[in-house]
């Protein structure tokens, strides 16, 4: 056990150490982007998908400059706003050579911002965790001794995750998509409704799947931050009422109880209003930038339509490409529906079961959609892994964590090897790479199932503690 002096010193040290690690990760990125030619990461199928590839974005920009629709041909499938933002940077030349240095810098900045926002979310969650633990009487002192600083951990996991680094240096647009998602969550956690709505609208606009986040965000705004099930509070309250205890904590708890339990309809309506406003704004902007070409109809067809109909069968770390390259044509539509509905099917059960933990719910939704995405990349994995780090306090008892770590490591090492054997050397065949993708999908499934299971177990443990407390008090 450490004494108080050491603890205080550590408290001071920790932010300092955090900044050192964060800065060093930025330097690491800067070093990597200064020699992009040797790495050639941007052409890896694990890093850039047809949706996030910077080469396709450059092609879209070229077509637009040549006064053609950026969606002419089937090259670009991203947002027109991203095209106006990043397009001019793709044609920059440094010393006469085309250089994507400025693009890389944008992605580095996006990564830093994401990490800072994650830190903010983490601090809020940490405070909420401490507060709830105290309310339930699990933590006696006001000092959060046992609570890990999940914000710092999450930010560092995001910054130092090889997947994030690879997708940042590999010039895929997923850092920007991730930033939008994290922005939405940050807005909801800090109850900045317009910001949350903006993040959600942008994230949905960029990659469609974050649309599922609407449910956790409504919960987050309606019910507040992650907390143990309300049942527990009610029980604690009743116990405390019986005890007629007058401690400050219980007063606060009573106050909290009365203000928390009702669903804040006003905020949610406010949120919906802002979502509509921002969507309108985004649509108008897109419409303006595409007015000379196919307009919004073409945009939806080429972005969302492309995501939903899985037209591009080039290999990636998901399982859909090979499935739809092999499946018989008359089954194609059926399986398209089945696979997309698989994401939607799980929304409701999860929402019912994890209603009291909206942030965790958002994390689970993001994980599921990154498993079942049409064109997944490691950038999506980077996002959910860092969100997972937000719940280190709750998920300490997660099973198979070492097994999963080894699995992720193994897959990320094997995937380039298998791809090389199949595509470049021609000594392997497609099954090698697909087997790898299947393995990755299985590991992710185990990961999401174990996370949910660990969270539910954590709630059960809280309940058990609570009931034993009650029994002791009685």
């Amino acid at each position: 056990m450490k004494d108080d002096g050491e603890m205080a010193e550590e408290q001071k040290k920790k932010p300092c150490r955090f900044w050192i690690w964060a800065l060093s990760s930025v330097f690491f990125r800067l070093i990597l982007i200064s020699f992009p030619g040797n790495l050639n990461l941007s052409s890896r199928p694990e890093v850039s998908t047809p949706l996030t590839s910077i080469r396709r974005l450059a092609e879209g920009y070229w077509l637009k400059q040549a006064s053609m629709s950026p969606y002419a041909g089937s090259m670009y499938h991203g947002s027109p706003l991203l095209l106006s933002l990043l397009g001019p940077l793709t044609v920059q030349r440094i010393n006469g050579q085309p250089s994507l240095l400025l693009c890389s810098l944008v992605f580095v900045i996006a990564d830093i911002l994401s990490a800072m926002l994650l830190r903010g979310i983490g601090q809020k969650l940490q405070m909420a965790y401490g507060l709830n633990a105290r309310l339930l009487g699990l933590l006696k002192s006001s000092r959060d001794k046992g609570i890990l600083r999940c914000g710092d951990i999450s930010a560092l996991v995001y910054l130092w995750n090889p997947f994030t680094i690879v997708s940042c240096v590999g010039l895929s647009t997923s850092p920007i998509e991730n930033l939008a998602v994290i922005l939405a969550l940050y807005g909801a956690v800090t109850r900045r409704v317009p910001l949350a709505a903006f993040g959600l609208v942008m994230a949905t606009h960029l990659s469609l799947y974050p649309a599922t986040l609407t449910i956790p965000m409504i919960f987050l705004l309606g019910y507040g931050l992650d907390a143990p099930p309300i049942k527990l509070f009610l029980q604690t309250k009743s116990v405390e009422n019986e005890d007629r205890s007058t401690s400050s904590v219980s007063k606060k708890a009573k106050f909290k109880q009365t203000t928390r339990v009702p669903f804040l309809w006003k905020t949610v309506v406010h949120f919906v209003f802002w979502v509509l406003l921002w969507s309108l704004y985004v649509l108008v902007l897109c419409g303006l930038s595409l007015s000379k070409y196919g307009g919004l109809e073409e945009m939806f067809k080429r972005t969302y339509g492309f995501i939903l109909s899985i037209e591009d069968l080039s290999p990636n770390i998901g399982v859909f490409w090979y499935f739809f390259a092999e499946v018989f044509d008359f089954f194609r539509n059926f399986f398209l529906i089945v696979f997309h509905v698989n994401i939607l099917f799980m929304l409701l059960p999860l929402a019912i079961r994890l209603k009291h933990r909206p942030c965790f719910l958002a994390f689970i939704y993001l994980t599921i959609s990154s498993i079942l995405k049409s064109y997944p990349s490691v950038g999506d994995s980077a996002l959910y892994l860092s969100l997972w780090a937000l719940f280190v306090n709750e998920l300490v008892d997660m099973k198979f964590s070492f097994f999963l770590f080894c699995g992720y490591l193994g897959i990320s090492l094997l995937s380039p090897v298998m791809h090389n054997l199949w595509i470049w050397r021609g000594t392997g065949n497609a099954n090698f790479y697909f087997g790898n993708a299947i393995g990755y999908a299985c590991f992710q499934i185990v990961f999401v199932v174990e996370s949910v299971s660990a969270m539910l177990n954590h709630d059960r443990a809280l309940k058990r503690c609570n009931s034993t407390n009650r029994e002791v008090k009685n």
């Binding site: 092609e59 499946v327 999860l350």
Partner: protein, 647 residues
């Protein structure tokens, strides 16, 4: 028997003269045949058969034809074809040795396989439909898989990069189409004498297909009757260009091989096709600079030319024409008969070397990169030695420039990144609009349309080499889209390089009677050359295991769905016991409902007063549940039926 045939033929000729008279017009259907022979510098011989068939416009002459093939005239009428060209080619035209700057090469050097282009005289919206119908009709007519050009992924709409400027033009090519006798026979059927008589009787299949290059072409053009001009109605031009290697007796000597028509084709010309208006054999001798330097003004000397120190012809030409650097010997085959067949022979006496006139730039195309993920296509234009001689280059702003148009079609599985286009002139990278004067691209859409690139380069005249490179990603196809020999790779059609400022024509000093082949040679034609066909290997999936992939993927999904739902549903310990005690008291649906309500409200489950519930009520609950299930299943079935029959 022979007399019978003769009378029949004469009757036919009489009829063909009579009917137009009956219709009160002077225009008649005309057919002419010609053969052009040309020794090539690399000891080969080029034989170019040329048949032209003209029909007056059908609206003034009805639909009855005597010489003109009915199939073609119906094609023209039905699909309103304004101009069309179909070529079947095997082998590659050797631009360095066989020439690239004469009308023969610019018109008859075609890309490997089948090439078809057509201009229609229909409204814009119907052009594609007409094209599709035309491909099917031609496919049936020529026993070739031209119908593959029907799909929108295999044809393109050139705007200016390809020869004729028209927005109703469609162009498509099938590089892998094998050309054989089955394509030649229907082509010969269009001729009035087929291959029974006249020049076409020379087309002995083994000798024709033994050649290094053969290209069989059908060019069709319609001239509106309202327009003034020499030709009105439909003009059908059929050519067959063959490059043959004469068998040489003296191997190892520098003397060009001696040949005769009989040794080349294994047959002799026995009489002309009686239906033909004219029937000539031409021999073109190129690059005889030694003779040109001599002063040969007099008729006599010119006639002595066919027997000189270098070579000797076996027959005396009827006429000799002179061009800047070639001679044309003209033979009439009217006089030949069964007893005295026409067999032109050429005997070389001294080793003679000459070179053909070449296009300003020699074009070649190749692939760069390895692996099955991406690559680059490069087109290399190299200066030929004839470049400085050419006078056609355009002098603007005091600097001499050379224009070159590049027209290229990319199949959709070659996903070209147009922003990676790089142009190198003499190994120096040029950016922007320095040399690239005009560019028009239409990017390819996956499984929908092929991509097309047209660009106009303006190079300085002194250019030694120019290279264009463009990167592409290889597409990944569905297993059904691969051909049976998937690992052979896929062909990218030839690119077309044309020089808009240069026109090839043979400029004969003397005026000759209107022989169609002759007028074709005199006509100015655009200098163009096709590049090689490229073979791109694409990655293949494992064709043997669709079932495995389907089952394994579905298993993974089941794993996901099942295990996640199990985790959500699982309850342990006291919760379970509590629920069990609750479950004893209430019925299934009621219990579930109360649980759901409790979940939503966030309160512990209320004690329901269901103990007093009568068994009838419970049974009604069950029956309503059953009824509900039934409705649900029926609704799902109806919806499925509706959506499946909708397609």
């Amino acid at each position: 028997m022979a007399r019978l045939i003769l009378t029949w033929i004469s009757l036919l000729i009489l009829q063909s003269y009579l009917i137009p008279i009956a219709f009160g017009s002077k225009e008649v259907e005309e057919f002419s045949e010609a053969l052009l022979l040309k020794p090539l510098p690399d000891r080969k011989v080029l034989a170019h058969f040329h048949f032209e068939n003209r029909a007056p416009p059908s609206n003034s002459h009805g639909r009855h034809h005597h010489l003109f093939p009915k199939a073609i005239s119906q094609l023209v009428q039905k699909f309103r074809v304004k101009e069309m060209e179909l070529s079947f080619t095997q082998g590659r035209w050797n631009h360095e040795q066989w020439g690239g700057f004469d009308p023969l090469s610019s018109m008859n050097a075609k890309p490997v396989g089948v090439e078809l282009w057509a201009v229609f005289d229909v409204p814009h919206s119907e052009v594609d439909t007409s094209w599709k119908n035309l491909t099917h009709a031609l496919s049936g007519l020529f026993c070739a898989s031209i119908n593959f050009l029907e799909s929108s992924t295999s044809y393109a709409t050139p705007t200016w990069g390809f020869g004729p400027n028209s927005d109703k033009l469609r162009y498509g090519s099938l590089p892998r189409e094998a050309v054989c006798t089955e394509n030649l026979t229907p082509w010969l059927k269009l001729l009035p004498c087929r291959d029974k008589d006249g020049i076409s009787a020379l087309m002995n299949r083994p000798s024709v297909y033994r050649g290094f290059y053969h290209s069989q072409r059908l060019h069709l053009s319609t001239v509106e009757s309202g327009q003034e001009g020499l030709a009105s109605g439909i003009v059908l031009e059929q050519t067959l260009t063959v490059v043959l290697q004469p068998e040489t007796l003296f191997v190892g000597t520098n003397i060009q091989p001696t040949w005769s028509i009989n040794s080349l084709f294994g047959r002799k010309v026995v009489g002309r096709c009686v239906l033909a208006k004219s029937s000539n054999v031409y021999l073109q001798m190129e690059g005889l600079s030694g003779h040109e330097s001599k002063n040969m003004d007099t008729e006599m000397e010119a006639h002595e030319l066919w027997k000189n120190a270098d070579f000797e012809l076996s027959l005396k030409p009827d006429r000799i024409l002179r061009e800047i650097n070639s001679f044309l010997f003209i033979f009439d085959i009217d006089i030949s008969s069964d007893s005295e067949p026409f067999d032109l022979g050429l005997t070389w006496k001294l080793p003679v070397k000459w070179s053909c006139q070449q296009a300003p730039l020699h074009a070649s195309r190749f692939l760069m990169g390895s692996g099955n993920e991406r690559g680059a296509i490069a087109i290399l234009l190299k200066a030929t030695d004839s470049q400085d001689k050419l006078s056609g280059s355009d002098l603007t702003n005091g600097c001499c420039t050379l224009k070159a148009n590049i027209f290229q079609i990319f199949p959709w599985y070659i996903k070209v990144y147009y922003h990676t286009l790089q142009i190198f002139v003499d190994q120096q990278e040029k950016t922007g609009m320095e040399v690239l004067k005009k560019i028009n691209v239409s990017p390819s859409t996956d499984k929908m349309s092929s991509g097309m690139m047209e660009m106009m380069l303006e190079l300085p005249c002194q250019v030694k080499s120019a290279a264009i490179s463009i990167e592409y990603d290889k597409g990944f196809l569905h297993i059904d889209e691969y051909p049976p020999d998937a690992n052979q790779g896929f062909d990218i059609p030839s690119a077309l390089i044309s020089f808009p400022d240069h026109h090839a024509s043979l400029d004969f000093k003397e005026e000759l009677s209107k022989s169609p082949l002759f007028s074709k040679l005199k006509e100015k034609s655009l200098v163009r050359s096709y590049t090689e066909v490229l073979l791109v290997p694409l990655t293949t999936p494992d064709f043997s295991m669709p079932y495995n992939v389907i089952t394994i993927t579905c298993t993974v999904f089941a794993l996901y769905f099942g295990s996640l739902l199990n985790v959500l549903r699982r309850r342990i310990g006291e919760e379970e016991r509590f629920l069990k005690s609750q479950g004893k008291k209430t019925g299934g649906l009621k219990k579930m409902l109360s649980r759901l309500v409790a979940k939503i409200r966030g309160r512990p489950i209320e004690e329901p007063s269901s103990s007093t519930e009568s068994p009838e009520a419970r049974s009604s609950v069950f029956s309503s549940k059953l009824f509900f299930k039934f409705i649900l299943v029926a609704g799902a079935a109806a919806a499925w039926q509706y959506f499946s029959t909708d397609k």
